[in-house]
């Protein structure tokens, strides 16, 4: 039973690719089917979470029943299922938005197949227990994301995809170099097995090289400063529903990678890495914050903001205390919801602008006719800035708290100061779009607001009733605290 709970969230979107492609001539059925499949996958993921929670044991499947470490392991440990659930929720919202989108791209026959492929890649990346398999899933994410961006209505989509792809290729190269280094040192690819062997012989000739290259890889994947260059362009140019997924989920693959590195694979050697993550994170918080305040386009602003928010998360991982890890997880989850919602709102406003663009001088004053969107945007912005009663506040509270408790005052001070910048750009953009006047702005229909409304509601809910998410992440963080448990659960 549990086997299927683990397999289906991955298998359904995968099978959805050919199915929706087969239905490419009947767009209505195609899109409905895509949403249906995604909802089904989400349902099974919830079931999976329940299974893992009740048994407090990871669910794992050996593909083809080849026992670990020889076959490929699918693993839903608390962290994995946590991330998978996050992805599926946001992906569902993304599909809902696509159904109501006015962009041409959603009408292309391959849009939904590509979207489901993205879903496959994300779910798989979080649920696989094998290093190389993770690489493959990451590649699925890269190619589907790049394609979806290249075919965007936005004329710059191709450029964005081109830059993203080259930089991702760099990441893939680093990833393979890292995998090779670890394989030659430990002769295995299964994460649990690898972790066990690294623990027993911490310093093989190429261990550190492996760490270095994996670090570089995940720094690119998580678009952390100074490996971020692809991100603002890419997230700004993609079709709105896609950019929402990219900025909220895709960068989390890197975050996930660092969580695995610091808590599972290199639990012993991770001190340097953790320090590095704090430094990089702080840099990202500053750079992203100021970039967001300085850029000329709402979507870009939100992309830069992702850079900053990832910074917060990396700092949390770097501090590495149970509380800070839990904080990082809560932050990860909440940011996914918020950022998706905000990008959707930005896109929705762009779709209502005189010419379809998200740049400020176009969308300024467009909010005049859309007060509801304004309320959503203000709430989302508050969440982003960590203002109660929205979920962003919980994230900020926990990060700050863990900083206080682990006595990391320097970093804490900087990110504290930087987080006022968030408030600045959020409020400024709100003022520009909803308060300033623009003669060109006309009453105009655009993308539907259902999806962002749902996400904002969820953010509000998770702010007011934060207990479930917080305890969930503490549970996951507790598991991260003891890699032996994970290893034992897989190699049993």
């Amino acid at each position: 039973m549990n086997t299927w709970l683990l397999l289906l969230p991955l298998l359904i979107p995968f099978a959805g690719v050919p199915l929706t492609l087969a239905l490419r001539k009947r767009r209505r059925i195609q899109s409905a089917l895509a949403l249906g499949l995604m909802l089904a996958a989400l349902g099974f993921t919830l079931g999976l979470l329940r299974a893992v929670l009740t048994t407090d044991q990871p669910v794992s499947v050996q593909m083809g029943l080849w026992q670990a470490p020889f076959g490929i392991t699918l693993t839903a440990d608390p962290l994995g299922v946590f991330m998978a659930l996050m992805s599926q929720i946001v992906l569902t919202a993304g599909l809902i938005y696509s159904l109501g989108s006015t962009e041409k791209v959603v009408q292309y026959p391959t849009y939904y197949p590509l979207f489901l492929a993205l879903a496959t890649g994300l779910t798989g990346a979080f649920l696989t227990g094998d290093l190389f398999n993770l690489f493959v899933f990451a590649e699925i994410i890269v190619i589907s994301g790049a394609v979806l961006t290249a075919i965007a209505d936005d004329a710059y989509g191709v450029e964005a995809a081109y830059k993203y792809f080259y930089i991702s290729t760099l990441a893939s190269v680093f990833f393979l170099l890292g995998i090779g280094s670890l394989y030659v040192s430990y002769g295995t690819l299964n994460l649990a097995d690898l972790a066990a062997r690294i623990a027993s012989t911490p310093s093989a000739p190429l261990t550190m090289a492996g760490i270095a290259f994996l670090t570089a890889t995940f720094l690119i994947k998580s678009a952390a400063f100074p490996f971020h260059f692809w991100q603002p362009d890419f997230h700004a140019a993609a079709p709105t529903p896609v950019s929402a997924m990219l900025s909220s989920l895709v960068v989390k693959v890197g975050v996930y990678g660092f969580l695995r590195m610091t808590t599972l694979l290199f639990a012993e050697q991770a001190d340097l890495l953790k320090t590095l993550l704090v430094v990089v994170g702080v840099a990202g918080v500053l750079y992203g914050g100021f970039g967001a305040a300085g850029t000329h386009n709402v979507k870009r602003m939100l992309a830069y903001s992702t850079l900053a928010q990832i910074g917060f998360i990396l700092v949390g991982i770097g501090w590495g205390t149970p509380l800070s890890l839990a904080a990082a997880l809560v932050f990860t989850f909440n940011h996914a919801l918020i950022k998706a919602a905000m990008l959707m709102l930005a896109g929705a406003m762009a779709s209502r602008a005189a010419v379809k663009s998200a740049s400020f001088e176009v969308v300024v004053g467009v909010g005049k006719y859309h007060p509801f969107a304004g309320v959503l945007f203000l709430l989302g912005g508050m969440a982003l800035a960590g203002i109660p009663p929205l979920n962003g506040f919980i994230s900020k509270l926990m990060i700050f708290w863990s900083g206080v408790e682990s006595a990391n005052y320097a970093a804490l001070a900087i990110i504290g100061v930087a987080s006022i910048v968030t408030l600045t750009y959020v409020i400024r953009s709100f003022i520009r779009i909803w308060f300033e006047a623009n003669p060109k702005a006309k009453e105009k229909a655009g993308d539907r607001l259902l999806a962002p409304a749902l996400l904002v509601f969820l953010s509000l809910l998770l702010g007011v009733w934060a207990e479930p998410l917080v305890s969930l992440s503490q549970w996951a963080a507790a598991w991260l605290g003891d890699p032996a448990l994970y290893i034992a659960a897989i190699l049993r």
């Binding site: 590649e139 004329a155 191709v158 792809f165 170099l177 090779g180 394989y183 362009d233 870009r300």
Partner: protein
């Protein structure tokens, strides 16, 4: 031999990087191919001691490590697909930006 092999891999990698850094996008694309070749060769050298026999179950004597070979197969296919996609991007860029100079492809900035 090891030294020569590793130097060859390094040279291939360097050539790839150098090409990727060319302004002519076609050269940069060629760089992608060279890079993936270099990485694949590296994966080979990450395999356990390369034996005298191909990795077939009926082979006599020490066989070469099959796992990296399988990984390389996957990596080749993946990078092949990506490479083709990049080429299509380059074509569109050349029509949209009327250039094949990667330095002139900077509509997205700040």
């Amino acid at each position: 031999m090891n030294l020569l092999t590793s130097l060859a891999i390094g040279t291939l990698f360097a050539a790839g990087i150098y090409q990727i850094l060319r302004r002519n996008v076609i050269r940069a694309a060629i760089g992608l191919v060279l890079l993936s070749n270099a990485v694949n060769l590296f994966l080979f050298s990450a395999g356990a001691y390369n034996g005298a026999a191909a990795a077939y179950s009926n082979a006599a004597g020490q066989i070469s490590d099959p796992l990296p070979q399988a990984l390389v197969l996957t990596a080749i296919v993946i990078s092949m697909g990506g490479f083709a996609f990049v080429l299509s991007l380059l074509y569109v860029i050349s029509t949209r930006y009327k250039t094949s100079d990667s330095d002139e492809v900077k509509g997205l900035k700040n």
